[in-house]
Structures are given as C-alpha cells and as structure tokens.
C-alpha cells in the first residue's frame, strides 16, 4: 500500500515496480540481452545460410529433383538426419508368419532393375519419407506367399487378380510377392506399371505383315528387367527346341537367358523373344515362373493410341498386351503363378464391364431373367482376391513404424491408433495421409 504522506522514489527497481512506478527505459534489459548473446556467432545477413538458389534450367528439371535447402549449411536445430530404423530384408526366408504386422525392407536392387527409380502406385511418397523402400507384412501377404509356395509345385489353372479400393495396398502386395518370388528362384516377369503400354507415352508402330502394333522399346525394357532379376533362374531352363529369331538360330541346348540376350541385341526382335520366352517358360517344369502385372485392367481397355486411320486402338491390338492376355483368359502355367493387380487411379483405362464384373451389384432376391442375360454381369476368366482394409493389429504395426521413422512424433497409444484407423476406415493410404497432412 502506497504511503499517502510523502512521495519518495524507491531506490531498487523491484521496489519501484511495487510502488506502481513504470520504468521509462528498457535499456538495461536490452544491454543485458546483448551481453548474453555476445557468445553466439552473428548471423550473416548478406546471404542465405540454408536456402540456396535453384539451378537454372527448365521447370521440369528444376522441380521435384532437388531440394532448395542446402543441407550442409542447414541449422542442425531444425534439420536433423531422418532416423533409419533397422529392418529385415523381405525374402523367401524372412517371409514367415513371425513377421506379421512388422515393416520389412524391399530390396532396392530389385526395384532398380524393375522400375529404374520408379515405384508402383503411390509408394514413391511413402518410401521417400521412410528413407528406404519398406512395406508392412500383412496377413494377406502371408496368404499370398503361402499360395505362391504351393503354386511353385503345381500351378493353378487360372490367374489371380488383386482387387480392392484405392489405397488398399494392391500394388504393394504385388511388389512384395514379386520380391519374394525373385529370392525364391522363380523366373520373375514383373511389370510395375502397364500404363505406359496404353497411354500413348511410348513409341509404337504397325507390325510387319500383321494387324497388330508393336512397342519395341517397352518390350526391350521388360526383357532387361527379367534378365536382370532372374538371370540365374533363366540359365537353368534350356530351350528344349531350336529357336529362330531373325537371321539367328539358337540350338535347343541354349538357355532362356541366351534367348533374351539375343532379343536385346536387336530391338526389332524383342517381341519375338518375349513370345518365345513366354511360350517356353509356361510349359517347362524346371523352374517356377511368376508373372506379375500391375494395373492389369489396361489389358482390356481402349488405349490412347490410334491407328493410321485415326481410330482408337483397343489394347488387344498390341502385340505386348496380346502376349499376356492368354494367361488371364484360361491359359495356365506348368509351374508358377500369374498375378495381376487392378488400379482405379486412371479411370479411363478401367473398362466399365470389367469394373462391373469385379464389383457386381448386390444380388437381387427376385430372379430377373434380363439381368441374368446382361453381358455386363458375368463370370470372370480369372480368380479375384480382394485386398481388404487393415486389421487393428496391422494398424498398430503401421503406426509403430511411423513413430520409429519420425513421421509421427507423438507417442503412439491405442487411442491414437484407433482414431487414425477409424478415420481412415482401415485404408492404408488414408492412414498415411492422415499422419502426413501437415508435411
């Protein structure tokens, strides 16, 4: 309580404050701050320490290829090295039930050989954040791996197509299956995306004395990936008969690897080499074969290519698609498995009738003869395996890994996992989006 008798200015600062007198100068405080900061290095305000000017060039080369942050000069308080959780490499030996609901690393060499830096579906963003290609080992993965081990002895009569909602994990499952097949000694013919086959982004041309169109560049790339991934398995399989490609003839003692090498030497012979490879591989019983096609719905679609009369070409007018169509229309392998995965990302390459067959309308209790005769609702020539939503245990494993990879910084509790899982309806892509929304 201030004395009302005589006003005298208190001596100390605190006393003055208590007395209700406001300080008119903050210079002591500023001086104190300066003394405290004198030990810190002064910031050079003439040039940026962390952010560097982007390189000159076209927008396409500038964007998306390099970051504008110079990490060598970045402030360590803000830019930390991403954690690199140790993961087991997915292979035939590690693909067991004991690894359920855990993340496993995909062999980068396999991805480089099959994709040349590209990844199937939307996995590129995931792998970039993880720091390495890694996927969750789910129950459906175990089911597929077990099925593949069975089919390595006795092949099924029909191919299998993975179907499900956008982001359910179809491409991821196919990639895991192809990786396990490669380590199991299969001949792996894996196309991580068949969109370039139909979206008019790659060269094409009319075939010689044929109404089919050829895509030598694409077939060449496919053969390169096959021989890079499965050379050992290809060397075990003899041709069994003399094969003539162009002007050269291979004796029956030669192997499939020699056949592919001959096809790679001359791009115009690539299609012939692929046809011979598929013909011999499907009938031989020495080594099991795995054929995996992502976005397999493109085999039945109307492409973006046009013929010389400017008419749109269906996919079955292309020799490359024609080579694989029989496998999904009843022609089986002697040993091995043919698996495809659908994709609804590019709607224009998903035929309507196929979409209706994959997702038939609900059964009508009253028998309707018109509906029965409807060609849109009919039987498929391959088996369909639906990739369902994540289970609660799988969602827990997913979030645990996200925390290890520093994608989720808050403690992972049951409540958080349940919340993310329910909000995403068990969809892995939506769960990933839910935790990276502010990235």
């Amino acid at each position: 309580m201030i004395s009302a008798t005589k006003f005298t200015q208190p001596a100390s600062k605190a006393a003055r404050h208590f007395a209700g007198i406001r300080l008119l100068s903050s210079s002591p405080i500023v001086a104190a701050e300066k003394n405290a900061n004198s030990s810190r290095p002064k910031a050079d305000r003439t040039q940026s320490m962390a952010f560097t000017k982007k390189e000159a060039g076209s927008k396409r080369t500038r964007s998306g290829t390099s970051t504008s942050v110079n990490l060598s000069a970045a402030n360590p308080a803000y830019y930390t090295d991403p954690p690199k959780p140790k993961l087991d490499l997915l292979s035939k030996d590690t693909a067991t039930a004991s690894r359920l609901n855990t993340f496993m690393q995909i062999d980068d060499g396999f991805l480089q050989n099959t994709g040349k830096g590209r990844y199937p579906g939307h996995l590129a963003a995931d792998f970039k954040l993880f720091g390495k290609p890694a996927l969750l080992y789910r129950q459906v993965t175990q089911t597929l791996v077990d099925q593949m081990a069975q089919n390595a002895e006795t092949a099924p009569k029909r191919a299998t197509v993975l179907d499900g909602q956008n982001g359910a994990g179809k491409s991821a499952e196919l990639l895991k299956l192809a990786t396990v097949a490669a380590t199991s000694g299969h001949i792996v013919i894996y196309a991580l995306s068949t969109l370039p086959w139909v979206n008019s982004s790659r060269p094409y041309g009319p075939g010689y004395k044929s109404d089919l169109f050829v895509q030598h560049e694409l077939v060449n790339e496919l053969l390169r990936s096959v021989v890079a991934v499965s050379r050992d398995a290809l060397n075990k399989v003899p041709l069994g008969r003399s094969v003539t490609l162009g002007k050269k003839t291979l004796e029956s003692e030669k192997t499939l690897a020699d056949l592919i090498d001959l096809g790679l030497q001359t791009p115009s012979l690539a299609h012939d080499a692929l046809d011979q490879l598929l013909d011999i591989a499907r009938t031989q019983t020495v080594v099991p074969v795995f054929i995996g096609l992502d976005e397999v719905n493109t085999l039945w679609c109307q492409t973006s290519y046009r013929d010389q009369e400017d008419n749109i070409l269906p996919a079955n007018r292309f020799r490359l698609a024609r080579s694989f169509l029989p496998f999904f229309e009843g022609q089986g392998l002697a040993k091995g498995w043919v698996v495809g995965a659908t994709s609804y990302a590019e709607v224009r390459f998903m035929p309507k009738d196929l979409k209706t067959k994959l997702n038939p309308p609900p059964a009508i209790p009253i028998a309707n003869p018109d509906l029965v005769r409807d060609p849109g609702v009919g039987e498929l020539s391959f088996d369909v395996l639906k990739v369902e939503r994540l289970s609660s245990a799988e969602a827990w494993g997913l979030m645990q890994f996200y925390q290890k990879a520093n994608i989720v910084t808050t403690p992972v509790t049951e409540g958080l996992v349940a919340k993310k899982w329910v909000y995403a309806n068990g969809n892995p892509r939506q769960m990933f989006a839910g935790v990276t929304t502010y990235f």
Partner: protein
Amino acid sequence: MDVILFRYGQPARFLLQFATIIPLYSSYSLLITSMLHLLGVNLPDQKVVSVALTYFYGIGPLTARKICSRLSFHKECKLSELTEGQLNQLSGVLSEMTIENDLKRQVAANVQHLRQIGTYVGKRHAMGLPVHGQRTRGNSVTAKKLNGKMLRKYSTVADTAFTRQAMGMFQSPLSKHQN
C-alpha cells in the same frame, strides 16, 4: 551447317535430306534453343509433334493429330526424338497437303473469284465488311480490318478507280444516293 531453301509456292515433293537446326538465343536466358526448319517454318524442337505441327498455317490440332496417327507418332513424342527417316516421312506427308502460302493463295483466289463473278460475298469482301450476315451498326471491327486484305495483297488486277468502275464490283454506300 547446310541450309536448304524451300521455295514458297511450290510443293516440296522431294524428300527432306536433312533438317536445318537453327540455334537461337532466348531473350530471357543464355540457353540455346534449337529449332527445326521444316518447309519454311521454324518448329521448336522441344515441342510435342502434334503441337509443333499446328505452327503451320492450315494445320490445326485435329489435322496434326491425324498426321501423327498416320505416321504412328505417340502423343508425347517430341520433334527432337524423331529420326531422320521419320522426319522424311513427315515432310512427305506435309508436302502432299495444301498449307502455308499455297493455302493462302488458294483462299485469296477463292475470294477473288467470288468478287469477279459478282456475288454478294465478293462485294462484301471488296467493301471490307462482314460476309456472313453480321450486324454492322456496331462491332464488325475485325471484318473491317481483315476482309479484303487478301484481295488487296494478292489481286492480279490493277487496283485503280478506273478498273473498279469498269468491273462494276465496287459500290460505296453513298454512291447510290449520289446517283
């Protein structure tokens, strides 16, 4: 670097022996942008073929697409990716078409013909007014600017007051009132 001069007006039926790559300096950077000189038109090398073909007078997006379909060029094919044989084929197809100055001369001749036979359309071209029934009370700025331009540029008849009167094709809006 060899330069091939294509004579305008004559259909280039010979095959393109080699294209002329002209280095250009962009005004905004020091990068060299290469252009393909084809049948008298500079085509940017980095453009998609179906887009680059629209740089020709007389070729629009549909015609360009049909040309690409005929020659089996995919949609994302760029000019720089074409081989010499493909360029020859492209040149051959383009030389069969009426484009550039051939087309301009043809259009001008059509308009001249309409004028000479004394049609309403010919008269409208001569007066530099809209041809297709548009209003002239307002607007018609484009027609006044463009119509008849080709006649003035390509007319083989001497464009004098005497010839105009002799032809009897030109009547100014005020002339009938004067008479």
